[in-house]
């Protein structure tokens, strides 16, 4: 049995608490939150030991592992408190606001031999895992182009008094929503060497972004990211990924994967040339306890199993989440660099002035000309 404590009782914290309390190998030793109301109700009706101070909970309840689901700006300090006491950490995404913190915490965990994991649950979705498996098998060859998207109905009116409406506390579509497709891209394609064309757009919010667009550059590929959390045409959050490779194309969302393979593709078992569709019903096993999607259960189960096995490196460990944080920070920085854009004034290839601009030179190079 692993003794686990939970800090933060928002939407994610409450659902983590429910799932982890139901885990057969877990003994829940404490719950911590800043607001006493919910704590008192939980204590009264479920008998769980509650705390308003994290340090006290870690010292008194002595958990072997802690689940952190607080606002993002609080993550770094809380993670450090836990790691320094030799406690394994599962933390909600994104990991931290300053990527440097992520690197340091990842090193601290490695030094102490502790298990870390971040709640990028999409890596536990059957369809997205199948994408990874197919890429590793080289099914669609070398990926040259990719599109990663996330849409949903979060901010639909100009208001906002919570931490999600402030950039400094980790709010905004970039941190909250775009983080998911970006995390899939870093899983599938690795860390980009550059980002460009980043745009953070406010729709309803005054201090933060409600939509994100950017281009990620890899040695042989580029990926577009588009995300919008003010999109009520979506019933709930949807995350999609499309990858084009030399041997075909993969599209995936939470429910299904659609794969088109050229006749040049090395066919994985069960796949054929042309269209292949697999649904969540065949890609997903029922977990020990289901609350809101198999992936949420599966990621907590993976965390507990890694602790039991003493496996410090694993899916979504701090090191991998730090790579995503880094891309998030780069997009934020790039979006503020107006001068880096090619404007109509600075472009050399206008019809009157330049007989041969960079664009036509590039085109001609593609055609094999000089």
């Amino acid at each position: 049995m692993i003794d686990v404590a939970v800090v933060g009782l928002g939407k994610m914290g409450l659902s983590h608490l429910s799932m982890i309390k139901a885990h057969p190998d877990v003994n829940l030793v404490g719950v911590c939150d800043a607001t006493g109301y919910l704590l008192d109700i939980l204590a009264k009706y479920t008998g769980v030991k509650t705390y308003k101070d994290l340090g006290r909970m870690l010292d008194e309840a002595k958990p072997q592992a802690v689940i952190i689901a607080t606002p993002t700006h609080l993550h770094a300090g809380m993670i450090r408190d836990a790691l320094q006491r030799g406690i394994h950490v599962f933390c909600e995404k994104p990991l931290v606001i300053d990527p440097q913190d992520g690197v340091e915490l990842s090193e601290l965990a490695a030094e102490r031999g502790l298990v870390t994991q971040v709640g990028y649950h999409n890596r536990f979705v059957g369809a997205f895992r199948e994408v990874k498996r197919l890429l590793d098998l080289g099914a669609i060859g070398t990926v040259g182009t990719a599109l990663a998207e996330a849409y949903g109905p979060v901010v639909l009116k100009p208001s906002g008094r919570t931490w999600r409406s402030q950039r400094a506390t980790g709010g905004g579509c970039l941190y909250d929503y775009a983080a998911h497709p970006l995390n899939l891209l870093t899983w599938y394609l690795g860390s980009p060497e550059a980002v460009s064309g980043s745009q953070l757009t406010s729709i309803f919010s005054t201090q933060i972004d409600d939509a994100v667009a950017s281009t990620l550059h890899y040695p042989d590929a580029s990926a577009q990211i588009i995300s919008n959390w003010s999109d009520e045409s979506q019933r709930k959050m949807t995350t999609k990924i499309t990858l084009w490779g030399t041997h075909g194309r993969i599209y995936a969302d939470r429910q299904e994967i659609q794969v088109y393979l050229r006749d040049t593709a090395p066919l994985p078992e069960g796949y054929k040339v042309g269209w292949n569709v697999r649904y969540t019903t065949e890609l997903t096993d029922a977990p020990w306890f289901y609350l809101r999607g198999e992936e949420y259960s599966a990621q907590l189960d993976a965390f507990i199993r890694r602790i039991e096995a003493g496996q410090t490196e694993g899916l979504n460990d701090f090191a991998s989440a730090a790579a995503t944080d880094r891309v998030i920070a780069m997009i934020g920085e790039d979006a503020a660099r107006e001068e880096s854009r090619l404007t109509v004034q600075s472009a050399s290839g206008t019809v009157e002035s330049a007989p041969r601009g960079r664009f036509s030179a590039a085109l001609s190079a593609l055609r094999g000309g000089k």
Partner: protein, 299 residues
């Protein structure tokens, strides 16, 4: 049919018509879900399908408390002759609106937001003192009443607690809430409480502990074990041995099982009382009805 349980309640219809298809819920394809959302944004389109189901003998509509359902309820109320045998089995709460409100206003703010605005003095007192005492009974019953207002004057013999809430409470060990829900629904609405869950064996234990006897419980029951947490064997054993009234949903596993195979299998299970299904066309409704006629003639 014979039920080896202690129930004295009237049985439910063998087929209950669900509403996922009307609101873009499809567990297999986001594209299909969107196409359905487009088609059913007009309430007339929903009514036409409901009429097809009603005319095929499917008289129970098991629905969420989505705002759009209020429009459906209005239409049924306005045509008492046309819908003389129509029954609603509301499932509450409509979880998405609460989840979004919690994100926006925090836990307490979300509760306050959904308490009736122009409520009676009684309900204000019930809510406020209950919030202050950290006694969930008052708030819970108020929220139930707020959700069910749209069904006033209609027949609601079974009222369901949604699976996200049931399973959240089950995981937390908050089983008192099941008893509070059951008592309120029985007393105030003269209805049977129902519980929807993705974790049937576990929730049966919880309901036992909460003292809810012979409960109506709805869960995924399908041949391939899709979203049957606790395993197919655990479900089958529960149906064989435990005293509860089983309702099967997702019998086609979102289309992964061919209809005939799915219905034949589920109709062969012991102690199943009803099947919830969704369909968007007359042909699919009729096909399910005739398959059930064929494999479940005694019901």
């Amino acid at each position: 049919m014979t039920m080896e349980t202690t129930t004295t309640q009237r049985t439910m219809d063998r087929l209950l018509f669900g509403d996922n298809q009307f609101f873009g819920v499809n567990h297999m394809s986001e594209e299909k879900a969107r196409a359905q959302q487009m088609r059913f944004q007009d309430t007339d389109a929903i009514m036409r399908v409901l009429d097809d189901a009603y005319d095929a003998g499917v008289h129970t509509f098991m629905c969420t408390t989505h705002d759009r359902i209020a429009e459906i309820a209005d239409r049924v109320r306005a045509n008492p002759d046309r819908y003389a045998d129509m029954k609603f089995f509301p499932c509450m709460p409509y979880a998405h609106k609460y989840a979004n409100a919690v994100t926006e206003d925090g836990f307490l703010g979300a509760i306050r937001k959904f308490l009736p605005e122009e409520g009676l003095l009684d309900s204000i007192a019930r809510g406020t003192s209950s919030l202050a005492r950290k006694d969930i009974e008052g708030v819970t019953t108020l929220l139930i009443d707020a959700e069910l207002k749209m069904f006033a004057g209609l027949s609601t013999p079974v009222i369901w607690l949604q699976n996200v809430v049931v399973d959240l409470l089950s995981g937390l060990g908050f089983t008192d809430a099941f008893r509070i829900f059951a008592d309120h629904v029985r007393k105030r609405y003269n209805a049977e409480p129902g519980f929807i869950t993705m974790n049937l064996p576990r929730v049966l234990d919880d309901l036992d502990r909460a003292g809810v006897e012979n409960p109506i419980v709805c869960s995924n029951i399908n041949k391939i074990g899709f979203r049957m947490s606790g395993g197919v064997d655990g479900y089958l054993e529960a149906m064989e041995k435990r005293p509860f009234r089983a309702v099967a949903m997702s019998v086609f596993a979102s289309g992964a099982i061919p209809p005939r195979e799915a219905i034949e299998w589920v109709c062969g299970l012991p102690n199943l009382e009803s099947i919830v299904f969704g369909a968007s066309s007359k042909a699919n409704i009729q096909s399910t009805v005739s398959l059930v006629d064929e494999y479940w003639p005694e019901r």
